[in-house]
Subunit: 331 residues, 2 copies
């Protein structure tokens, strides 16, 4: 059984919504659920869990409490905060993975802070210049890994090539056999997109050691037609991911109206939001790191914890390191 460290202070609804998630995991466990380590002020953690009928010291549900007192506010510079303080929840949680006291860690707070903490405490894998946040979109044909969804705002062809390799590794740990890699761009005409995409396309054709299916477009991510790994820069990836979320909410509202019964439409939207889609997997880091939506619900946080546990069980960082090493040899 793996152990997942969870940031009590991250997220718009923290710490209450994080405690709700812990209570749900304790009261409604499923097979494969990890042991939990809650990172935050221990007295606060104990009080919140007790209110929710969870005794952190009890039996199978034993939850370790690891002290850390500070989070990073949305308007703070994460690197400055992490360097100035040694009691920040994201650093302490990532440090537990580095010290092998946990197998993975999860935060639903400040994305930049979680990326910085993971990079500082766990380090990048050899061959990886910057980590990438990957999300799993439940397409019509199965899981599609979209990355980068928000970690590294500016990209180069070589960075996108690194993303392709770790994305390929992630898709394989999700059970996709021989995933096809697609480069997100804007259609067959007009020279296949902007300068970055044209250079990247040539680089992928020449050097990618995995199956490259070529250019894909925005609709291919939800339809899942040819690529199971869709590679793009963080700006485009984040806009597309949030666009898909907005469109699903739009569709739930409008289709609920069209059927005269909103129940099933909202249930589907909720089920999608609490699928693997809930968690961003930070790839290229030497330790399993899952970053959820800041506005995540308790159900979404549970989904992040379960995603982190599965990735730890598959030893995702080792699979990604092997993919990067394979790519490095061929380049």
């Amino acid at each position: 059984m793996s152990t997942v460290a969870l940031d009590l202070l991250g997220g718009d609804g923290a710490p209450g919504v994080v405690a709700d998630a812990v209570a749900h995991l304790v009261h409604s466990p499923v097979e494969g659920d990890p042991r939990l380590t809650l990172v935050g002020p221990p007295d606060l953690a104990r009080a919140l869990l007790t209110e929710r009928g969870v005794d952190p010291s009890l039996g199978d549900a034993a939850i370790e409490l690891v002290p850390a007192t500070r989070s990073v506010a949305m308007d703070e510079d994460p690197l400055a905060v992490l360097r100035a303080h040694d009691d920040v929840t994201v650093s302490v949680a990532a440090g537990l993975v580095r010290d092998r006291r946990a197998d993975a860690w999860v935060s639903v707070g400040h994305t930049g802070a979680a990326v910085a903490a993971a990079t500082l405490e766990l380090g990048r894998l050899p061959g990886m210049s910057r980590p990438a946040l990957a999300v799993v979109v439940p397409s019509l044909t199965g899981p599609v890994v979209l990355l980068d969804a928000g970690a590294a705002p500016e990209a180069t062809p070589d960075l996108l090539r690194q993303f392709a390799m770790v994305g390929h590794a992630y898709a394989r740990t999700l059970g996709v056999t021989d995933p096809g890699i697609g480069l997100l761009t804007i259609g067959g005409e007009d020279g296949k997109g902007d300068r970055l995409r044209r250079s990247t396309h040539d680089l992928f054709l020449e050097t990618l050691p995995f199956r490259y299916v070529g250019a894909v477009e925005g609709h291919d991510v939800a339809l899942g037609r040819s690529a199971q790994v869709v590679v793009t820069d963080a700006f485009t990836g984040n806009v597309l991911l949030k666009g898909l979320e907005g469109a699903v909410t739009w569709a739930a509202q409008r289709m609920g109206e069209a059927y005269g019964d909103p129940g099933p439409a909202w249930a589907l939207a909720e089920q999608t939001a609490t699928s693997d889609f809930a968690g961003g997997m930070l790839l290229g880091i030497d330790g399993v790191t899952v970053i959820g939506h800041g506005a995540g619900t308790a159900a979404e946080i549970c989904a992040c914890v379960r995603l982190a546990a599965r990735a730890a069980d598959m030893d995702l960082p080792a699979v990604a390191a092997a993919a990067l090493a394979e790519g490095g040899r061929d380049a």
Copy 2:
């Protein structure tokens, strides 16, 4: 009554699907429908219309046929083709607007060819460096104008400012009072996106003569929360637009399954695809130009024709020119 020139040879299903659209407009007219001018080989046009029970020389439904024999293939360089030939449908159709023989023109073919023909035959409005393709997304709160959705792959802050001004004009002709302008970016943290967005945000704050609501994210386009005009570069805009389309198809499939009755879900998806969403309005050009999906159905082509007629009735180019002049004075 306005006159709309329609490219018979543009689109994946041309010329048949374009003739289907013409037949539908003739057989099922609605108030405000324009007179049609069909641009293509006249014998072909006559034969296709006759097969569909339309006599182009008859009565109220009189359809002018203007000869042009050539289209631009997807793998051809549009500028080279347009400069080498004077019988290309997109050039002839745009030329009809220039010569005041039509009030607007529509093509569902090669986007790059239509943009080039519009620019060459009609010219850019003063103050506009490059035209932008704007789509109207039927958000939960009303129409949202998203631009650029695919005309100009690389952008600068000044170009995005021009897009904001013509997008504002377009939203007003759609009936939106005092539209708010949003800059599409990736969230409040990490310095609000990439370099282009940070520079553009500062420029908008300092010089935009219209109401600037600040940064918006991918979900805001479908939800319609604060901005009625969402400004971005063509790469991001096209990926987002196609992402929304893919997500609506995904939702129609999944929600049809969830309700056990696919009918209403697909009807809603079809209704969305044949709303104003069907047509890209090319803004910043001195003549109404609508560019539809290459794969557009007859119903989508009809929607493009009606959108073009409404924009001509509102004299959209004059409204856009006034907005650019207002912005130019304040800059």
